[in-house]
């Protein structure tokens, strides 16, 4: 049916006058509620899949390591204890680390007090 035929079509004006049922006012809100719930659910499922993938990859790597140890035997390791002469150096590094950690903690607390949000 071409455009001109459609214009003179007897059904066209009849269909135009058919009363249309209005969409309920709450439709959009209800539908968006469902969509947002579904999006949150999908996000959660994806996160679970990602966690499972990480877990499986870790287990795989651990299995591979155990397999390699069983196949090639345990690696030879030599344990060395640090010499007493280097004790002051390690002590200095340890104290510095504690001081820096304490400073970081104190600064963060001060910042949170100033910016509670």
């Amino acid at each position: 049916m071409n455009k001109q035929e459609k214009e003179t079509d007897w059904l066209k004006p009849l269909f135009r006058r058919l009363p249309a049922e209005e969409l309920p006012a709450s439709f959009r809100e209800a539908l968006m509620g469902k969509i947002l719930r579904e999006t949150a659910k999908r996000k959660k499922t994806n996160e679970r899949f990602e966690l499972l993938a990480v877990l499986l990859a870790s287990l795989g790597m651990m299995g591979l390591a155990i397999g390699a140890i069983l196949w090639a035997g345990p690696p030879r390791m030599v344990w060395r204890t640090p010499e007493w002469v280097s004790l002051p150096f390690y002590s200095y590094i340890g104290v510095l680390l504690l001081l820096l950690l304490g400073g970081d903690h104190w600064l963060r607390r001060a910042y949170r007090k100033r910016h509670p949000d």
Partner: protein, 188 residues
């Protein structure tokens, strides 16, 4: 002219912002709902099915490649949803004798139909529509109520262009026969 096109809304959703879907609901919600309501003839069912259509569209948006327009794609979902709902109801539809169809002219039923008031004409048209098979109802509603082009109807229904044209022609004749039959019954 709309500020954002369908593609703008779709890109926003595909980028992870589901709020972009409100634009598509505002643009197509009323049309899809009117089409489904005219098919299922029940307010609650129509609302639920319209929600289903939009939810299916939302779920499938990641796979939407834009080969056809969003509107055509959405109406394809609406068509399948409405037709499958109607089939589930196992309602019986009228089978019209082929000879009656062949004899029916492609014009407005005359006589009493032309004389009855508008409200009665619309009531009869509504009753005649209800007697058509769901696929026929959908096709005629797409063409007249949603004012879709034959190409869009073909894309939405999966029928060929010539098939859509032939079917529309036959549906018009069916409506003519049904409306004439109603006229006869009323005169008896």
């Amino acid at each position: 002219m709309e500020l954002y096109s369908d593609i703008d809304h779709i890109r926003r959703i595909q980028a992870g912002d589901p709020a972009g879907f409100t634009g598509l609901i505002d643009r197509y919600g009323a049309g899809v709902h009117a089409f489904i309501f005219r098919m299922v003839r029940n307010r609650e069912d129509a609302e639920e099915l319209t929600q289903d259509v939009f939810l299916k569209a939302f779920r499938g948006l990641n796979g939407f490649r834009g080969e056809s327009g969003f509107s055509t794609w959405l109406y394809r979902i609406a068509y399948h949803t409405a037709v499958s709902e109607m089939r589930k109801r196992k309602q019986e539809f009228l089978a019209i004798d082929e000879t009656l169809l062949a004899l029916a002219p492609d014009e407005k039923p005359g006589g009493a139909f032309a004389l009855v008031d508008e409200a009665e004409q619309l009531l009869r048209l509504d009753r005649a529509l209800a007697q058509l098979p769901p696929e026929d109802q959908a096709l005629i509603l797409f063409f007249y109520m949603e004012e879709k082009k034959v190409e869009e109807i073909a894309s939405a229904t999966g029928l060929s262009l010539s098939n859509v044209k032939t079917r529309l022609h036959r549906i018009r004749k069916k409506l003519y026969v049904l409306l004439t039959e109603m006229e006869k019954k009323d005169n008896e």
